[in-house]
Amino acid sequence: MMRFVIRRVAVSVLMLWLASVVIFVTLRVIPGDPIAARGTLPGFTAEQMAQLRHELGLDRSILAQYLDWMSGVLRGDFGQSFFSDFSTTELIATRIVPSVELALMATLVGLLIAVPAAVAIALRPHSWLDRVLSSGAAGGMAVPPFWLGILLVAFLSIELGWFPTRGYVPFVEDPLENLRFVALPAVTMGVVVAAPVLRFLRAALLDVTRSDFVRTAEGKGLLWHEAVVRHALPNALMPTLTFVGMVVGSMLGGIVVIEYVFGWPGLGALAVDSVGKRDYAVLQGVVLLAAAAFVLTSLVVDLLSVVIDPRLRDQMST
């Protein structure tokens, strides 16, 4: 067990290091830099730009810049914004809470949609209900999140006035207002999460319900829905947990769009702003954080699977 954990953690650290290299080099290779923006200022000369690049160390080799940045990262210093002078850590700190809240709420909404729907399908596989819900899942995967978001805003905010169109209030300031603000983005993102999870869980449940132990449970007198909920569902949730981890870990890309539509002050918006300005330190910090979130989520899910699934524990011990 311990060997598995150590190996899994080592792989995670290696992945994070590789991600840091890719992030750093990619940003330096694409055209433009933080100083390029000043090129449009009246009277700003090429010499002044070169001087600023020198002051920021942007004229050094990529390797030297990387080593400098990485040594800071290892000390917990992710650098500071070229524009606001705020540290990357501070900027991320102001954005991470809204982002995490949105991710958690969206996951919750997604699971609240996907799990009951998958169970309903498993109770009546290949019925009209199955066809309707499966089609809904396919639609959920196909629909662009921004379109769904705009649709929800048009109906629930503009027409009915139930929810605000945009904005954010911290939970600690006003919990009820916070929930009003998070509702629409969470539902929008939740649908995006629910669709693939529903398809995955449906397949897993239908597979498990054909297993001998489910038939045995039914033969021992359990009703079909009891067999499905008590025996098939826990077994089907095991692989689904890994899948949910991957979906949540890769949520950042979708969240950017949602943040734009709903004016949500999260990490995605910070990342997009930083891309536009080529605010290297901030963008590197955000992307590294996103990579870390993905890697850590995968790690936690893998470790949880071992804890939850006795078969995996047996495999480890043998």
């Binding site: 055209p31 830099d33 606001s84 169109t165 945009r166 702003d273």
Partner: protein, 526 residues
Amino acid sequence: MRRLSVLWASIGALALGLSACGGGGDGSTVEAPAETSQSDTTASTTLAQGGEATIASAQGVSQLDPYKILFAFEGVVHPLMWATLTQYTPEGGETVEPNLATEWEASADQKTWTFTLRPDLKTSTGEPLTSDKIAASLERAFDPETAFLWAIFIPKVAAVSAPDESTVEIKLKTPGRYLPAALTKISIMDVDELGKINRSPAVTGPYKVAKFTPDQSLELVPNEHYHGDPPKLDKLIFTKAQDATAAVTSLRAGEVQALWSVPWTDVRELDGNSDVAITTGDKPAQNGLILTDNTSGVFKDVKARQALAHAVDRQSIVDAVYAGRGDVPTTNNPVFQWSDLVTDGLQEYDFDLDKAKELFAEAGVTEGSELTFWAPAGAYPEWTSVGELLQKDLETIGINLKIETNEISQWVEPFAPAGKKFPDMIVPNIYGGMPLPLNLSSWVPGVCECNFDNADYNKALADAQAATDDDAAKAALATAQKVFNEQVPVALTVQTSIPVGHVSDLQGIWIDPSGLSRFDRAGYVE
């Protein structure tokens, strides 16, 4: 100057604010203009004291240092926090009026300017804003290492001093008739407090900072130590709306009270909404234009540049792209048509494709030639629309205009800073942010990316700065306009201002002679 990471693009100058010695009052009034459209700018409305307003913008506020301004929206927000020696007011129009300085005078050679300060000035912390501090602030603004956005428009400064506690003296290396107008753009700060500028700045303007999160939100509350009348609103919140179209929805829903830089595609629709007003001012103060490199490729030939001016269908551009809210330049004169400084009798560049074809042919641009329209992606979509109109018109005379859009940092790269060669490219842009006639310095060497360098033009501007009377200054500026119109360093497309959408009962928003939207007089109708 709007959306995502849009830069000031290139910021030139604008409308003339003749900068004679200031008179007038203290610039603070109870009345504010109810300036909701180009045609409704004269009515006055009494505004109530109190209330909050949230103002959205697709651009955020990255930082609060007035001398590090980089994005247009910062230019809109900073005057709320930072006072200047001189100022424009809604009542004064293009006249430069007192602010921190009560009066000023120039030496006969226009090189030494003496400003008398208002007594008992304080920063928002309650600390005295002394003449020494004001001089230090100006020195920082003029220091080339500061790379202050507007410094290029200010005559070269030899020295700044504070001879006594109520006087600041600026000595120039060359005559500077329009220095008071330029000083309307130079915020005064306490340089000793520079280290705290993005956390808890000691400001000098009508509002002080309550809370600031870069590129997210900025909350301002009245500065009780401000020397003028207190602002109307109890709180102003500037919030970044990542997507301008989504922000329009919030404006319609009344969840934000104003939106700076409403997408032009939404302006016409909002015009029909009784709950929302659009303010662009009745005096357009920014020049929409297309840049060409005057030193390379086909546009090195003045005939090609004149041909381009004839090929631009300005009326269609204003009607189709700018929702009819803009002036249609009939000549290629960057001095706005409403200005007293505008020169009559200039050659007109009417939309005439036959003439354009003839001039293009003389410059070697014949049928089958290809030019490139180089526009930013994700920002200023109206510029791409201008390119599409031009593309259609050039096609009828056999010239292929290839439209290329690039992410903003890549868009800037081929033509900025000034001095780069970009042959056969047509680059849309907007120049604004400085009052007339200082904006004419947008086309001197090293400033305009068009690389225009004309000795007659440069001399005319220098003569205007050195002029000792209005007539001589006007004559020199007339020469500059004539040269500009003949040489077509850039081709004008429209003269307009950035539209501000706001709920109808939020009034007092005005556009200053430099083309910036101003919220310092904003308040709710009683």
